[in-house]
Symmetry: C2
Subunit: 176 residues, 2 copies
């Protein structure tokens, strides 16, 4: 229940391993994550409504990515029945705020665990094909290189996606 957590003493989420053990997802950290999301909404003068918070909590509570309808189902289990469109609207707001990301290759969503909006360094996504875990690692250099490649084609880039599928460290180890 409580967490000894000797891990590291760097205050913020800036890269430890992108694939922490699931046990490290404590209730305390979860609350902090929600807090942080609330703050980001406040800072941007956008409402962190009950619905948005609930949707965010479902996403943040899963270590893997989660689809809109799975979110809906889990909320229904807890007594909140909403239409898909409402889920999607909440998701849109959360995406805009940057507190969740969309995994294009799975049409699913996961909570941003880096929260380095401040630094402006953008992450690439690593998605485990076995356990579904999603990790983020810095991709600033990669995005810059992509920008150059686009420029070379006279293409005016606006949005870039980089996703990698494979095995996370734990699953790769199990797999031998």
């Amino acid at each position: 229940m409580s967490q000894p957590t000797p891990v590291s003493h760097s205050a913020d989420a800036q890269s430890r391993t992108p694939f922490p053990a699931p046990e490290q997802q404590t209730a305390k950290k979860f609350a902090q994550t929600v807090e942080r999301a609330a703050k980001i909404f406040a800072d941007r003068s956008i409402r962190f409504t009950k619905l948005r918070q609930q949707v965010f909590e479902e996403i943040a509570a899963t270590y893997t990515s989660i689809g809109a309808y799975e979110i809906q189902a889990r909320m229904a289990d807890k007594g909140t029945r909403v239409a898909p469109i409402s889920i999607y609207r909440a998701i849109d707001a959360l995406l805009d705020a940057g507190v969740i990301h969309r995994l294009e290759s799975k049409n699913a969503f996961f909570a941003c665990r880096r929260m380095d909006h401040t630094t402006g360094r953008r992450p690439i996504f690593l998605s485990c094909e076995k356990c579904g875990a999603v990790g983020e690692v810095d991709g600033q250099q990669i995005f810059e290189l992509i920008g150059e490649a686009a420029k070379g084609a006279k293409f005016s880039a606006r949005v870039k996606f980089v996703e990698v599928q494979g095995l996370c460290p734990r699953c790769a180890a199990k797999d031998t």
Copy 2:
């Protein structure tokens, strides 16, 4: 009908501009594209069946990306009515053969115009938000950098994709 094509005399499709003018999509080039696909299937001892060819032709005939159901509709217009699953099965075979690509961010497909399977250099995809045109440019360096980033996270990468949305040269020009 016939094509003066002064463009260039390099025999293969290896990069001219990734966004050629649509007028350059001549019937002759189209036939060559289908030929090339057929050859790739033959080389791999996979059957380039009538269905697969028809699906490929619909994809190759559009300069933008195209969804599975749009393919189905166009084939129906030409008198061939098939179920979605059949379209998807054909698409799977075409993807496997590498003659088409999947645009993850749009759940749509487009014909590979580089055909540099031989070189092993993998492309990134540039998708125009205005006209829908899709271009490919070499991304070997980018993929290598992604590979290193994944390795740094002890992530065993298997599939990678890079997609960029923005404006193609022609639309960017119009846009001022």
